[in-house]
């Protein structure tokens, strides 16, 4: 018979030790021997025994002390005491100290074998119990870790998450959802959707899904307006049990207010641009029709006038397209532009030279002050050219004959300032608020038939802001306007 089991026999009597060894080894066990409690414990500490047979009465350290020590070691080693004084008392005593069984001396081999076998079964049983306990503990830890992890993920999501049960009660709501729905610090879990949400449409949709028959269950995506004017996109998914019955819902919320605004702005811009592009084309077609249909009456003078007007509109259309392209170029802020130290006196000198002939045509006096020692600004040269070209051309365009345009550059240790002052037609204080808006044109400029796209100043403003600068303006009707552009000095 060959059984597994590692057994220690502790007894001060040589006869007992060798007797036990013979019997147990014959049964197939691996047996160690110790002649007193102390050396027995030393072996126990070194090896992992399934069973310990110990005498009670021994010199050095008795069996009871061995049992005590075994208890303290939290060992699953099963112990059987061997006693020469078979008495109820010593058996009870040993039992209290954790002994599994006892054998009274003298004993016969069969009795020893039977008791040891039983003891080993107990040891195996204890080990199994311990293994199961460990497994269970590990599983529980795993589950609670998993729960904590999932909750952490849901709670740190940017999207709002709301879960409801079949009774329309909220069973989970993450902080993002609480924020999006602008809920106060109130009891949320366990309340019905209806009691909590201030958006009747969303409540209705969630409830409808909960009441839907199982065959038609699917995720529903819808946009909802909040009472304070935001737009939330909700993706509502029914949760089904194994019979496909709806047992709850999960709603994921996205705040798409910003996207909606951008969409609206884009759509407004496109319709405005289309209108601005169509107007000159319509005029050109209209003029061409006048000639084609003979409405001009074949009068060369009239025809020439019509062609000239068409030509003007074509030019305005071309200017508008150029400005639109500039606007889109300036707005590509994310695409890294080359930024370098730029000397504004150089930019201004070039721009002024370009518009000097136009100023001369109208006998406008162009005064400039562009000190050489002005510190540079950090910027994109092409953009800064465009900014000042827009401002200088405006100054010349809106200043009547014999007027003045005065362009000054100055600086302090922190700033570089440009002042462009004209004696032009100016504008009203009401216009001042709108002058930098896209496509806005001052009423008096339109009345006086001064052409323009309404984009020049909005482009200039965008460029200034891209350079951490800003534009300010002062104006009086028929007295003139002064534009100030201020940049941080580059150090």
């Amino acid at each position: 018979m060959n059984q597994s089991g590692h057994i220690l026999v502790i007894d001060d009597e040589e006869v007992i030790r060798s007797g036990c060894q013979q019997i147990l080894e014959a049964d197939g066990y691996h047996v160690d021997l110790a002649d007193n409690g102390k050396s027995g414990l030393e072996l126990i500490r070194k090896n992992d025994y399934d069973l310990v047979l110990t005498d009670i009465m021994m010199p050095e350290m008795d069996g009871m002390q061995v049992l005590d020590e075994l208890q303290k070691m939290d060992s699953r080693t099963v112990s059987i005491v061997i006693t020469g004084y078979a008495s109820i008392e010593s058996a009870i005593d040993a039992g209290r100290k954790g002994a599994f069984d006892y054998i009274a001396k003298p004993f016969d081999p069969d009795e020893l074998s039977t008791r040891v076998e039983r003891g080993l079964k107990q040891a195996e049983h204890l080990q199994q119990v311990e293994r199961l306990r460990k497994e269970r503990d590990e599983n529980l830890l795993e589950i609670s870790n998993e729960r904590a992890r999932t909750l952490t993920i849901i709670n740190s999501m940017h999207e709002g998450v709301i879960a409801t049960n079949r009774q329309k009660q909220v069973v989970l709501m993450n902080p993002a959802a609480i924020k999006m729905l602008r809920l106060k610090r109130q009891k949320i879990i366990g309340q019905t959707v209806q009691d909590i949400l201030t958006m009747p449409d969303l409540t209705k949709t969630i409830n409808e899904i909960l009441e839907t028959v199982k065959s038609s269950l699917k995720t529903l995506q819808k946009e909802f307006d909040t009472p304070d004017g935001r737009v939330l996109q909700a993706s509502i998914t029914p949760i089904q049990d194994e019979n496909q019955a709806c047992i709850g819902t999960v709603t994921v919320l996205f705040d798409i207010t910003r996207e909606k605004q951008v969409e609206q702005m884009k759509s407004d811009f496109v319709s405005h641009v289309s209108h601005e592009l169509k107007a000159p084309l319509n005029a050109i077609q209209g003029y061409l029709d006048l000639i084609l249909e003979g409405i001009a009456g074949n009068d060369p003078e009239k025809e020439r006038d019509i062609v000239q007007k068409s030509r003007n509109r074509a030019k305005a259309l071309s200017d508008l397209i150029n400005d639109l392209l500039d606007l889109s170029r300036v707005e590509q802020r994310n695409i890294s532009k080359e930024m370098e130290p730029v000397q504004l006196q150089e930019v201004l000198t070039q721009v002024i030279d370009f518009y000097r002939s136009k100023a001369d045509e109208k006998s406008i006096t162009l005064k400039t002050s562009l000190p050489e020692d002005t510190p540079p600004v950090r910027g994109n040269k092409q953009d800064l050219d465009r900014l000042f070209a827009n401002l200088v051309s405006n100054a010349v365009k809106y200043t009547p004959e014999n007027g003045n345009v005065d362009i000054r550059l100055d600086s302090d240790p922190e700033h570089v300032n440009v002042r462009i002052k004209d004696s032009g037609i100016g504008f009203t204080p009401e216009t001042k608020n709108k002058i930098f808006d896209e496509f806005y044109r001052a009423e008096n400029a339109v009345e006086q038939k001064i052409s323009g796209t309404g984009l020049g100043l909005s482009i200039a403003k965008k460029i200034a802001e891209d350079h951490q600068g800003y534009i300010e303006v002062e104006s009086q009707v028929n007295k003139g306007s002064t534009f100030y552009v201020i940049f941080p000095a580059y150090k």
């Binding site: 319709s271 029709d289 007007k309």
Partner: protein, 129 residues
Amino acid sequence: MAQKILIVDDDADFIDINTRVLGASGYETESASTSEEALQKLRGQKFDLAIVDLMIEDLDSGFNIAYAIRDDEKLRDMPILMLTSAPRKTGVNINFPEGKDWMKVDDFAEKPLKPAELVNRVKQLLKSK
């Protein structure tokens, strides 16, 4: 006596072109480039028809002129031809004044209109009056 038409548009070239087109067909025209000027002229003299651009100061100023005409007992029956160059598919939102539903202008057309087409529409409107 020639029938008189008011052309309301903020585009001077449009007024120029249609003044010539309608003039060649024997109509007398006047023009206005703002809503205020338009209503002032309509109330000051008698017109047989108004050609109104939808977008003058704002996206829907033309409608406000039309409402003012329909609200005015003396002007109410004058036909209105409304024109727009607003492209149809760009989602222009037209805000009707509070408490007023869609109201019918007598004809609505998209710019540009061929001279013959404009004259034809004007004729139809003046005939049905």
